[in-house]
């Protein structure tokens, strides 16, 4: 019981951190729709590696839901949800495969996040014209994924195991 409460508290803390990063990111101007660094992903990557995918899914989905309610609208919820689900799925599978390091996993996550958003946008706007954004979003997702992977990797290796061991 105590352990469960502590894990819940830790996940709440991570969700709060992810939301603060969403908020900070909303001040970084974007030139193209969908082109973002994805700062909250640093937290998601950390939780995925340290606490496993169910915890990462919980933090990610609560983050998307609350951010859309607080700062967005119904449509931003659809885009955010699609991106979060696909990128988490891809990152979970690649992490299990032990094929890439954190950076590779996060790059694949960033690119799949953007690809999912393009698909939702094409469906919502009922246009295929939007696929012309794909190359630029792949480049953006890759570069963002590198940054997020490096930052997430640092968090994973620098934050001592004992922090989480103590919590759990």
């Amino acid at each position: 019981m105590k352990q469960k409460t502590q894990t819940t508290a830790l996940l709440g803390l991570c969700t709060a951190a992810a939301m603060i990063l969403s908020y900070v990111e909303s001040f970084i101007p974007s030139i193209t729709p969908g082109l973002k660094i994805g700062l909250p992903n640093v937290v998601i990557v950390f939780v995925l590696y340290r606490l496993g995918w169910p915890a990462a899914a919980a933090v990610s989905l609560v983050r998307v839901g609350l951010t859309s309610i607080l700062f967005g609208n119904v449509m931003s919820l659809a885009y955010g949800f699609a991106g979060a689900v696909l990128s988490l799925l891809v990152m979970t599978l690649l992490r299990r495969a032990h094929f890439f390091s954190v950076v590779g996993v996060s790059v694949a996550g960033g690119v799949s996040h953007n690809a999912a958003q393009i698909v939702v946008a094409a469906a919502v706007m009922r246009t295929t014209q939007i696929v012309y954004y794909l190359p630029i979003l792949i480049i953006g997702g890759t570069l963002a994924g590198i940054l997020i992977g490096l930052a997430g990797g640092m968090l994973i290796s620098r934050l001592p195991e004992s922090i989480i061991a103590k919590w759990q």
């Binding site: 890439f100 950076v103 794909l134």
Partner: protein, 118 residues
């Protein structure tokens, strides 16, 4: 799995993604045609079509009550004003070549350039 191997695969993944996207981008830039028309779509339906060589200012109104102001000048189209909260459409570059597109996600407005006489 040795960490060195993984990093090498990371670099390979990054290289492949950047190469594929970069090559696609270069090819579209190389083979793009000068545009003739500006097509406005709202909610997936064609809303209007305008000649790119004639200056104009078009007030696009959506059923949801939003609007975008499209300006055509010097053979280029751009959105100069909009009711959407993010204003991403206003910040996008002017477009003048085939298949270049400006989207306004909140208003579901797509402005794209086509070439040819259709």
């Amino acid at each position: 799995m040795p960490a060195k191997c993984k990093v090498r695969r990371d670099l390979l993944l990054i290289f492949i993604l950047l190469l594929a996207a970069g090559a696609t981008l270069c090819l579209t830039l190389l083979f793009r045609l000068p545009g003739d028309w500006v097509v406005v779509e709202v909610d997936g339906e064609e809303w209007g079509r305008y000649a790119l060589d004639k200056g104009a200012s078009i007030h696009i109104e959506t059923e949801a009550g939003g609007y975008n102001v499209l300006e055509i000048a010097d053979g280029c189209a751009s959105v100069i004003e909009a009711s959407c909260p993010d204003k991403l459409c206003v910040h996008q570059h002017r477009i003048s070549h085939s298949d270049e597109t400006i989207v306004c996600l909140p208003n579901r407005v797509v402005v794209s350039v086509v070439s040819g006489r259709e």
